[in-house]
Point group: C2
Chain length 93, copies 2
Amino acid sequence: MNWEIIGFTAGIVTTFSFVPQIWKGYRTKHLRDLSYLMNASLTLGMSLWLVYGISKKDVVIIAANIAGMAFNIILMIMKYHYGKTAGKAEKNN
Amino acid sequence: MNWEIIGFTAGIVTTFSFVPQIWKGYRTKHLRDLSYLMNASLTLGMSLWLVYGISKKDVVIIAANIAGMAFNIILMIMKYHYGKTAGKAEKNN
């Protein structure tokens, strides 16, 4: 059994998990229920994974975490943007 | 520099990222904008990380991914429950 392939697949699946969330947000123009703190905390955690990956010279960890950070930053920008365009009627915390 | 501590902290931060999302959902009773596919895909990816962690006998990877899977399963159950109680008026996909 090649465990590295399992780890590699795990990294790909978790990283691309954020794509359906981006797609749903884009489609509905709503990300009210998403927590900024979740996305910010994931971005912070992934930046630490990135440092760890660089220290280990592990290309998979580096690439997966750069992509994951980008997805989470995109989600925060989308949430901010949709919250602003929806106006004050929409509670957006 | 102890890179293992960076990796350990990264695991803790990313795993507990889901706690503010659970808290926000519990507080507002809304998780409409959350994508089931994101939570399901994260759960699947983390189950693969768990297999990888078991193969490597890495307690940190094992513990972090069990907790992460639990948080994502809780979010899916909450979303389902809030979607049902909100009735048909609320689009919940």
